[in-house]
Symmetry: C2
Subunit: 258 residues, 2 copies
């Protein structure tokens, strides 16, 4: 495997590739579905199909966890569910706070997938005093002023940021200072955090833009000429659209802070 080129005295064991980690939840979901149907065992081929991946990849992924399969038979569903859950740390309970209870924050709070597997919404936090006390998804919203106390009291280490872009970095800083070490960021901003803090981002407009790129490429393949002429080599042309996208107050303008 990953070569023995470690500058470290070995102990490779814990080296689960990031790409594999990202797929484990996918396997877990498929396995859970099988479990609910009381399917006792499953082959790499079947499970791979259910998870939408290649079977060789799946087997290699599992090989990083250990040898949990039986040749000629497949994998024991229940056992694998347990092993993956354990590996992902889902056998324990993770209190999570959601900061920014706008449309998106409320949607997240209501999202069932949260509670289902190891995660628990410990608190909802918003900067709007008018929101304070108001229940969302059965949980009363608390004011940003109490953020630090909430984090501490609940032992929260995972925070979800669903604020407008302008507030994201500030909220992030406070979360981190209060002890949060993992952040899921829905605000369209690049967050900077100290080493040791993990940030993952979910950005709708980026996803759409990537789709648009491919969509345009598809369209261009048919219309040979559609490929746009050479760049207007000279003076910088300004993009047609305005570019000022201060969303109507609501959520997240697609711009960065300073």
């Amino acid at each position: 495997m990953a070569t023995g080129r470690t500058h470290r005295p070995a102990t490779r064991s814990r080296g689960i590739p990031e790409a594999t980690v990202a797929r484990l939840p996918l396997y877990l979901r498929a396995l859970t579905a099988l479990s609910e149907r009381s399917v006792p065992t499953v082959s790499s081929e079947e499970l791979a199909a259910a998870a939408g991946v290649n079977s060789a990849k799946l087997r290699k992924d599992f090989s990083y966890l250990g040898s949990y399969g039986t040749r000629g038979v497949g994998y024991d569903v229940e056992y694998l569910v347990y092993q993956i859950s354990r590996e992902l740390g889902l056998t324990q309970d993770w209190p999570v706070v959601i900061v920014g209870i706008g449309n998106l924050g409320a949607a997240l709070a209501n999202y069932g997938g949260f509670a289902s597997r190891g995660f628990r919404v410990a608190a909802l936090i918003d900067a709007d005093p008018a929101m304070a006390g108001k229940p969302v998804a059965g949980i009363p919203v608390q004011h940003t002023d109490d953020l630090e106390k909430i984090i501490e009291d609940n032992g929260v280490s995972i925070g979800v940021i669903a604020t407008p872009a302008g507030a994201a970095q500030q909220v992030c800083d406070r979360l981190v200072a209060a002890g949060v070490t993992s952040i899921l960021n829905f605000a369209p901003t690049v967050l900077s955090v100290p080493d040791g803090v993990d940030v993952r981002k979910v950005d709708l407009s980026i996803e759409l833009q990537i789709l648009a790129f491919h969509e345009q490429r598809k369209a261009g393949e048919e219309t040979a000429a559609g490929d746009g002429a050479l760049p207007a080599a000279t003076a910088p042309a300004v993009a047609a659209d305005d570019s000022t996208d201060q969303g109507p107050d609501g959520d997240v303008p697609a711009v960065m802070p300073a």
Copy 2:
């Protein structure tokens, strides 16, 4: 998913790496912010910092688009904004439909980032008859029965699925049959689509589980034996080793091609 660029031997060297495409929206956002502050030029170093990436990576990314920089000076902000917009296909308008107007669908409909940059919510669709006609974000919700007609009448090629998992595949099939060739899926399900259709997925619980994994690993490093868990099974994890986590890794959008 190899993004069907396979069947095309490349009209020319238009082979922009997928990883680069995924970063272009990031650069565009940073550039737009600079543009609004009337900054005329920017160096790869500065822009890279704003976008949260490595400057060498940024320069290489731009090199795929052409040579738009000036040595000793940097890049012309306005010009670059235009070039990237054009490359991403944002100089044209993309009508988008959102299917499934629950909490999440409504949040998406209200999301400002939509309209701002090349995308327009052409229609909201929901299976609940009670929703029909009810305006969300100023747009009346239409019933699923009219899905095909809506797609056709508006020339929609990008669809957003925000339905419950159980309905996602069915909705997907109908969207594709009606002509949609790009799908952004928020439902926690693996969608299967014919070749030529792009699917990107956004999955909250997967993101959380990935964070939990890293969170657990961090905790395990300090409390060798603590935490009740039983990671003993394998060899002991080396305490100071890794350095893997790397928070500000910037890249790796929390979304993956499906």
